[in-house]
């Protein structure tokens, strides 16, 4: 076993120190060492998008990074986007427009949706489908997800574009 390394993960605004083997993926460290199980693991090889997080503000697959690579980076997971009890507009829209059924893909969908809207405040359904093609959902058939992201985009613009 390779020696553990000490890593500081700045997750959702607070710095947390963990000791991990170099081979531990960031997704596993988030789930097992930090106990933040909202980040889901579907495929663990980059194709499903369930493990999507924001790393320094950019969407990445947390199953395709090592925890040691995220030392010092700013990480946002699904647990970090609500403002206390007030849901993020993307979360509210998924709830209101039935953008989820079983919820397994939802954390990744919501973070990917936030990323799409941050780059394109008024995305068309076609643009949403193309941009979020890397996030797979086995339940909804996607129609409601696209509607949710569009509704969230409108709500976020009305709020002044704050993500």
């Amino acid at each position: 076993m390779a020696e553990n390394m000490s890593v500081v993960l700045n997750v959702n605004g607070s710095g947390r120190s963990v000791s991990v083997e170099p081979r531990k993926t960031l997704a596993d460290a988030i789930r097992e060492d930090l106990g933040l199980t909202g980040t889901h693991l579907g495929c663990e090889h980059g194709v499903c998008g369930a493990c999507t997080i924001l790393l320094d503000g950019e969407v990445v697959r947390s199953c395709l990074m090592l925890a040691v690579q995220a030392d010092g980076a700013e990480i946002t997971t699904i647990e970090g986007i609500a403002d206390g009890d007030a849901l993020h507009p993307m979360q509210s829209a998924f709830s209101e427009y039935h953008g989820l059924q079983c919820g397994f893909c939802t954390p990744g969908m919501i973070l990917a949706g936030i990323d799409v809207v941050s780059r394109n405040p008024d995305p068309s359904p076609q643009e949403i489908r193309e941009e979020m093609g890397g996030n797979i959902c086995r339940c909804t058939g996607y129609q409601k997800i696209v509607e949710s992201v569009q509704a969230a985009a409108a709500a976020m613009s009305a709020e002044g574009g704050s993500a």
Binding site: A2, K24, G46, V60, L66
Partner: protein, 290 residues
């Protein structure tokens, strides 16, 4: 834990990375964006004893556009696709990058990793072949410059890089002022690896084609399409020349069958995609100051 055990180093300079490669050689793997290597680690298809993470080597991440375009191997695909310098010099590059995976993949994946990994269905090896790019490979013993064709040869998931070599830079000569491009691929869904695709760069003198460079991917390995190129050079742009090039491309293409499609189907795709790419090239001029 998904990956097998490995030792981990994170060098901060090229020299340090080359020293580690010299020391660990075939037991080591370079970790760039990790978008191909980490899946292989997770499946334990790759079990390197030592991982050399070059994400901290800042001097490998740059785009410089003085004359030839020079791109550091750690340049992320998102940065490559969004660079005004790259789009100005070779607009085929952002057109191709947009087809690679998804945003989250492109935010981490790098140009050097894409070439070193050399997936036969990857866009960039074929595009950079068509652009006559060359790469710099460095080791503790020195450096050499390798043309894209010699880097790839007929290989798949492998290149002619030595175990102790680091790919550091990609250099692309300036496009002729009157060159234009077409890029076409067919994938089951946007972002999936393509079943087949064609990158075409042509130069015309009025309506006669003076230079044609075509790269194809999705077969057994990335390749230029010499028969198609020969059918184009000296011909007038238009349906007759493009049809001949399509047939030539299908003849040149190292087609292959798998669960996604038969070799016959892929050859047919290459023919059709070549004609479409050439029509695109004839319709819109890019590159240089065109």
């Amino acid at each position: 834990m998904k990956p097998a055990v490995f030792d981990y180093s994170a060098p901060e300079s090229i020299a340090e990375a080359l020293g580690l490669l010299a020391e660990h050689g075939s037991g080591a793997k370079v970790l760039a964006g990790g978008q191909s290597l980490v899946p292989m680690l997770n499946f334990r298809l790759a079990r390197p004893a030592h991982l050399i993470d070059i994400n901290g080597v800042d001097s490998l991440s740059y785009i410089s556009a003085n004359g030839a375009l020079r791109i550091g191997s750690m340049t992320r695909l998102t940065a490559l696709g969004e660079s005004g310098d790259v789009a100005g010099a070779h607009p085929i590059i952002p057109a191709a990058v947009a087809q690679i995976g998804h945003r989250a993949i492109r935010n981490r994946g790098t140009i050097g990793g894409s070439l070193a990994h050399n997936d036969p269905a990857a866009e960039l090896p074929a595009v950079l072949m068509a652009l006559d790019a060359e790469v710099t490979a460095r080791s503790a013993d020195g450096e050499r410059v390798v043309g894209m064709q010699d880097l790839i040869e007929d290989r798949l998931f492998d290149t002619t890089l030595d175990d102790t070599e680091l790919l550091t830079e990609i250099r692309i000569p300036a496009a002729a002022a009157s060159s234009s491009f077409g890029f076409q691929e067919f994938a089951r869904r946007h972002g999936d690896f393509a079943l087949a695709g064609v990158a075409a760069v042509i130069t015309t003198d009025g309506s006669t084609i003076t230079h044609a460079a075509l790269g194809a991917f999705g077969g057994t390995h990335a390749t230029r399409l010499p028969t198609a190129e020969a059918a184009l050079v000296g011909a007038e742009t238009g349906d007759a020349a493009f049809a001949a090039a399509g047939a030539g491309a299908a003849a040149d293409f190292p087609s292959t069958s798998d669960v996604h499609g038969t070799a016959e189907y892929r050859s047919h795709l290459i023919n059709v995609l070549t004609v479409r790419a050439l029509n695109d090239a004839a319709g819109h001029t890019g590159g240089g100051n065109g």
